[in-house]
């Protein structure tokens, strides 16, 4: 073998680097555990929620179901989903009156006299599972992230409880769970979605005002709904790529 020392060092270091890169890639293959389940492949889904304001009756079924399914602390101000009632006075359309007694968990008291001026309607709210979410971008430790199938999740083991994400969310969808001192919010019932079930709020909604939608599934009825209705998201000017689509959303809703 007539190779110089220089050649030996160059080839040797190249082989070393290639082996290290190969090993790292193999680790990725081993760790890609969500694909372990043969029936659920994250690359085949892109989850969104469709909310039909015209069907919402403010019964609070979704709020109760969410709290029971996800073991959300049973006190006011801790909600993964909640319902707001808007009352818009035609003389002051820019300043609607919004109320949400205990998140609408027990429905709404009759407050506004019927037949008077103005209009009232319900707006269910939840995490928008933004494609470019501000909350995941501000997390200093990588404890919140968007999955390959479009769901924004929180790693409760890794969360520091620093509350940056709670401030970053333009929709007010996050809160600090006082039991664990970690951030918490809607997971779109990820534990149900990946088992082929719909989220608890959609299951419990009596009028079908909330529909889970898989935008990557061509057979999902959401495509027909999106074609035939005028859809809006909340705060489109924030460019968050929000994926909670509202049908019949009034311009006064913030």
């Amino acid at each position: 073998m007539d190779s110089t020392r220089r050649e030996f060092i160059t080839v040797g270091s190249r082989m070393f680097v290639m082996t290290a890169v190969g090993l790292a890639a193999f680790n990725d293959v081993l760790a890609g555990t969500p694909e372990k389940a043969p029936s659920y492949n994250t690359a085949d889904h892109w989850w969104a929620m469709v909310i039909d304001i015209e069907k919402c009756i403010g019964s609070g079924h979704c709020v109760r179901a969410c709290k029971l399914e996800n073991n959300v602390i049973d006190e006011p101000h801790y909600f993964r989903t909640w319902v707001e009632r808007y009352h818009v006075d035609p003389l002051d359309m820019d300043h609607p009156t919004v109320d949400s007694p205990n998140g609408g968990i027990d429905g709404f008291p009759e407050t506004y006299p019927d037949g008077g001026r103005g209009k009232a309607f319900f707006v269910p709210k939840l995490c928008n599972h933004c494609a470019d979410s501000p909350c995941t971008q501000v997390c200093p430790v990588g404890a919140t992230f968007r999955t390959n199938d479009g769901v924004v999740l929180i790693d409760k083991e890794y969360c520091l409880g620093c509350r940056y994400c709670i401030q970053a969310c333009p929709y007010g969808c996050r809160y600090l769970d006082p039991r664990t001192n970690t951030a918490d919010k809607c997971t779109l019932c990820y534990h149900r979605l990946t088992k082929g079930l719909q989220p608890a709020c959609c299951e419990a909604c009596p009028t079908g005002a909330r529909q889970i939608a898989d935008l990557k599934n061509p057979k999902d009825p959401v495509h027909e709904f999106l074609r035939t209705h005028q859809i809006q998201v909340l705060k489109p000017q924030m460019a968050t790529g929000a994926k909670t689509f509202y049908n019949g959303l009034d311009g006064s809703v913030r």
Binding site: A65, H87, Y158
Partner: protein, 152 residues
């Protein structure tokens, strides 16, 4: 070799640098969780932990497996599109162990009125009543059967 007269200074610096790199490497290997960064800037195992959470609502499919009679009863009723657990509450434990877990019957007045009490926010086409005027103190189920609420 005239330029390398004080080579021990450089060696000391190199040793310090090597120790620094070593400490960083060890600390990183210790502190960063094993699956961090494999799917993005987060711990990939967290996804499995979230998926592992047990369900509370069994889903309409699980109810229909055994309660076909109620499904048939509701097939032509106005409540046909409402999932069983919407009124009966989360019953995954019952679906798993039908013999051991007996569901409680929901109580009519707060349950029915959540949806059917008149409220200005509700869509105009949706059937609502002023409860006091409509039923007084009578329970809803005296006249209406919840699975088929039309009065026969």
């Amino acid at each position: 070799m005239k330029g390398f007269r004080d080579i021990e200074h450089l060696l000391r610096l190199a040793a310090l640098f090597a120790v620094g790199v070593l400490v960083f490497g060890v600390a990183r290997a210790e502190l960063v969780p094993p699956t961090f960064g494999t799917l993005g800037h987060f711990r990939a195992k967290a996804i499995d932990e979230i998926r592992a959470k047990p369900i509370e609502y069994a889903g309409q499919g699980a109810c229909a497996e055994c309660h076909a009679d109620v499904v048939d009863l509701r097939a032509k009723a106005r409540h046909r599109n409402i999932a069983c657990e919407s009124c009966h509450g989360p019953l995954a434990t019952h679906a798993e162990n039908p013999a051991d877990v007996t569901p409680k019957l929901p109580v009519a007045p707060p349950l029915c009125t959540h949806c059917h009490a008149a409220n200005t926010g509700k869509p105009k086409r949706y059937p609502t009543v002023d409860i006091r005027e409509h039923a007084g103190t009578e329970s809803c189920v005296t006249c209406h059967k919840p699975h088929d609420p039309r009065i026969q």
